[in-house]
Amino acid sequence: MKRFLTFIVLIMISVYAFATVNVTVWFSWEGQKEFESLVNDFNASQSLYHVNFVYIPNMTQKIEISLSAGTQLPDVALVRNDVIGMLANAHVITPISTVETLPAFSQSFELNGRLYAYPYYADLQVIYINKNIYDKTIPYDWTLKKFEEVATYIKDKGYIGISMNSFSSYFFNSFYAAFNGGKIPLKDGIPIVNNVGTKRAFEFYNDIFNVKKIAVSYDKSALIQSFKSGRAGMLMQGSFLIPDFLSSKLNFVILPYPNLDDGTPIPPTFDAKGFVVFKDNEAVKAFINYITQTSNEVQFCKSTYKLPANLGAINELANSNDFFKVMDLSASKALILPTTTIFNEAYSNAITTALQLYLTGQISLDSSLKKAQEYIDSEVK
């Protein structure tokens, strides 16, 4: 009997010791195949942990719904930095220790001085130029005046000067910051929109979309299609499209965002993605350590054209070609968006609505910004 019991205990200890710990990872955005391949490599490289890869098409929406409904969250998820505030407020993620990376990455995932995610990569907003329509060389430190000149030239040739989404708060943020002295104007953490700088940014939009008509507004799919089909000479979009355009054999170059005429840079949004940990354990740590290794980051970012968070990977990729060069340059002047709920929800909804109403001529500039500010302020209460 004793032998039997000892045997059972040994079996149980062995099972406990050698049982595979499962880790569920939610992944989104581009690079599904590349990341899945890394996950498979990780699973094959050891037997203690097994990572279940789940692709989530719309991560932000999924997380919002999961929090509202209280549905099960994974162990780890790749998120954009704008959901950090929401997740931290819901107390579903915990701060992590510091990570060696570019300051922009750390700042992206910081809230109240604490880091809430393992930075993985970043996309940068850039300007795509169709070389078949405009083949002159433009210096990287170009100005808004030059930008308008190029757009006008393209428009005069019968194409769309610049294709961009006029109602997207996400793209507006760069102009919002630029016209407000280079940073998002906040007062006690609350975005201020009813001010001179924001009015100038709105007027600039009105000028290029409605007065000069050198810009045409589209939704995301239409934006991309307008450029791919050769109807638009310039496109304002994220660097994530580079692989798609390359595979479609488009003749294009990318440029950093221009500067205002007074030299203030229009900062592209630093669209950082990082891993938040919902259940902290050894398995999760082992997996995060594996995928953020220099060689693995290079493997992922090289084919997907992402700016890696790992310093070694940045050094390896930064000067490998012009695309990474522009991304690196853009990162140096990039805009880190606040991660607070008030910015990502109240401000975002308010500014989208205000832009739509103002640019379609339904409301005056002053009224649109006044209403937007009232909405933001009421959400704070």
Binding site: S68, Q225, T360, A372, Y375
Partner: protein, 683 residues
């Protein structure tokens, strides 16, 4: 948690005592599920609205949240938009359905084929047809196949009339199969003598329509018209998939909510759900929207007594007062029509036919107010009380008038018009279907804008669909969910309906099933998600299947009840004499005899479960559990916000449509019979 369990236990006990007292052995299972899915969320929503509730933290705040919701101008505007949108969609649906029904009623050749074609929009899940329509309407930023035909841009993000009218049209397109069959079945109520008389008089089709079809059938289908309005009022999927709330409105840029041109109440509730983590606020909005729905359900319920017009007049007056007082009606102006309706009620009580005049004048005032309100103030000028009054007034005052056509068109012209109409509708039915075929076989991931011919024919999308997007697993998940839903529906509905046949008190449950179908919507689904969280039913097949089966209760019950009622009584009497108890009789005698009706129910539940989009959207969170609907939606994403994989979506849609068409062809007869008897018009 204590609060949750206390509330659910007490309310469930009260509900069960009320509805499942008679023959509880047979009815309790149905009652519990019905309560859990349809009623408790409303109770729970009200309960938690008194707290600021960030689970597990609860802080009592009194009526603060309720005050926020009940006084939100965004809620008022959203309700007004919902009412106008629902009426628009209903008018489109019924107008086209009437025209189609009249056109194909007299056609004998190819009638089966025509009926099948008419039913196609019903058989295609909305997550396919709506997305396909959207791509045809909006294309890329308004540049689309249809915009080329109409020579105007249809940007659904900025063009208010386009977003409003196209979404109403697509919702109507989805409902036309059902409405056409209901109208066709109502034609059966026209006496043969009358038809013969009209034929002998040599009336032309216009005269037949205006003197026979419409006057003879409209009163019969008035309840269906209101149900259509109510269903449109609750519509969510079409708007969510097409416009996601629609273009911004100045009047919708409020302090508490932002409401767009198509932000119906379902969308508003979903937006709150996405943005608010405070369950107390969600509960308060759920309570406010629930109250509006309760009022409408109450009106719908009173259509049972449409022959006794007193009930309808009373609900008309009550709803007018309530919406006028609650900033969603005509305000002070509402006193005028209300007084007229009150006078009509007095006249009706004295059995004076002149009551119709008062109703008519009241309706004219309401129509005038609505028309000038919208003309002057846009969406804020909408009056829900006026819209409801206009619909109810039609029921109250409608009388057929003798119409003699001044024009004598040749028969050939009528026949040509009929053929053109049917051909046009066939084109409208097949357009979105053809569109997905074009996308599915296109090599390039682009929308067909100028021509409906695949751009570079390929089959690789289908390979990619199964290899890269795990579509096989999605099909398996859909089958699992549908099968569980079928089992739950049969196991609960069959005993309860059997009990209703044998005990009149058990019939009460049937009535509750009907009421709950009128009342539920997004405002009950959101608190239900919170409820399921506490019950551990989120994110699994079983939870989703429970909801789908409960949603299928109403159709199942009203298919099965008349069938069981007509079974010969002597078979069961013989079994009683042989000493068989009730359960044995139900299982061994009635169940086998009911198989034809149960087969129809199985088909219905399967199709409804397979086509379900909203429930998996809210209740599933794991890609491995995603049914076909969610996998398909994820390929396209929210329109305009994501970089859609149109060609893969097309391939998935083709596979889906093939599955549905095979099923549909197998069960076509059951479906047509089911739809007709569901609406009870032919009974």
């Amino acid at each position: 948690m204590t609060f949750f369990w206390l509330l659910i236990s007490i309310s469930l006990l009260i509900f069960s005592i009320f509805v499942a007292r008679a023959k509880p052995f047979y009815t309790l299972a149905l009652a519990i599920l019905l309560f859990l899915v349809n009623f408790f969320p409303f109770v729970w929503g009200i309960g938690i609205s008194f707290f600021d509730f960030f689970p597990p933290e609860m802080k009592f705040v009194g009526i603060k949240n309720l005050q926020t919701a009940f006084s939100d101008s965004g809620l008022f505007l959203s309700a007004k938009i919902t009412a106008l949108w629902a009426m628009t969609s209903m008018v489109i649906e019924l107008s086209i359905s009437y025209l189609l029904a009249i056109s194909i009623y007299s056609i004998k050749r190819f009638s089966t084929l025509l009926y099948t074609i008419i039913l196609i929009p019903w058989a295609i899940p909305s997550y396919i047809s709506v997305i396909s329509w959207t791509s045809l309407i909006e294309g890329y930023g308004g540049d689309s196949f249809l915009s080329e035909i109409f020579h105007t841009s249809f940007n659904l993000s900025t063009n208010i009339p386009a977003a409003f009218l196209w979404s109403a049209f697509v919702a109507a397109w989805l409902g036309i199969p059902m409405a056409t069959l209901v109208i066709l079945s109502s034609f059966q109520t026209i006496s043969q003598n009358l038809r013969d008389l009209v034929r002998m008089e040599g009336a032309n089709p216009l005269e037949v329509t205006l003197n026979v079809y419409i006057p003879q059938t409209l009163p019969v289908i008035f309840p269906y018209i209101f149900i259509t309005f109510l269903e449109s009022f609750k519509e969510f999927s079409t708007i969510f998939l097409m416009t996601a709330g629609g273009p911004a409105l100045v009047s919708g840029f409020g302090i508490k909510s932002i409401v767009g041109a198509t932000t119906t109440l379902g969308m508003l509730m979903y937006d709150k759900f996405s943005l608010t983590q405070n369950y107390g606020v969600l509960g308060a909005y759920s309570a406010a929207i629930g109250l509006i729905m309760l009022l409408l359900a109450f009106i719908g319920w009173n259509y049972r007594f449409s022959r006794q017009k007193r009930n309808l007049l009373v609900v008309l007056i009550l709803s007018h007062i309530m919406f006028d007082l609650w900033s969603m009606g005509a305000g002070l102006f509402g006193i005028l029509p209300t007084v007229l309706y009150l006078l009509a009620l007095i006249m009706y009580s004295k059995r004076k036919r002149s009551f119709k005049r008062f109703v008519m004048f009241g309706a004219l005032l309401d129509f005038g107010y609505l028309f000038f309100g919208i003309y002057e103030r846009g969406f804020t000028g909408i009056s829900i009380s006026s819209i409801i009054s206009i619909i109810l007034s039609m029921t109250l005052i409608f009388e057929g008038r003798i119409y003699v056509s001044k024009f004598d068109f040749p028969k050939l012209l009528w026949r040509t018009l009929k053929i053109i109409l049917i051909a046009l509708w066939i084109a409208v039915v097949f357009l979105p279907v053809w569109n997905i075929f074009v996308m599915g076989f296109s090599r390039e991931n682009v929308l067909p804008i100028s021509s409906l011919i695949p751009q570079g024919f390929t089959l690789s999308n289908f390979i990619s669909l199964f290899k890269d997007y795990n579509f096989g697993q999605a099909i398996l998940n859909s089958i699992i969910i549908s099968v569980i839903a079928i089992f739950i529906a049969i196991l609960t509905i069959f005993p309860a309906t059997y009990a209703a046949i044998h005990d009149k008190h058990a019939l009460r449950l049937g009535m509750i099933v009907l009421i709950s179908s009128l009342f539920t919507g997004m405002h009950t689904l959101i608190p239900l998600a919170i409820t399921f969280r506490f019950l551990g039913l989120l994110n699994n097949y079983f939870g989703v299947a429970i909801i789908l089966s409960v949603h299928a209760f109403v159709i199942s019950y009203f298919l099965l009840y008349p069938f069981l009622l007509e079974l010969p009584k002597n078979i069961e009497e013989a079994a009683i004499m042989d000493g068989a108890n009730g359960f044995t009789r139900m299982l061994k005698i009635i169940f086998p005899l009911s198989l034809p009706a149960l087969w129809t129910i199985i088909v219905f539940v399967f199709i409804e479960s397979w086509s379900s989009f909203v429930i998996p959207l809210i209740f599933l969170n794991n890609q491995n559990l995603y049914p076909v609907s969610m996998t398909m939606y994820n390929l396209v994403g929210q329109y305009g916000l994501t970089y859609s994989k149109w060609n893969i979506f097309g391939a998935g849609a083709i596979v889906n449509v093939i599955i549905m068409v095979i099923l549909f062809l197998i069960a076509r007869k059951s479906i047509i019979n089911g739809i007709i008897s569901r609406n009870g018009v032919d009974d």
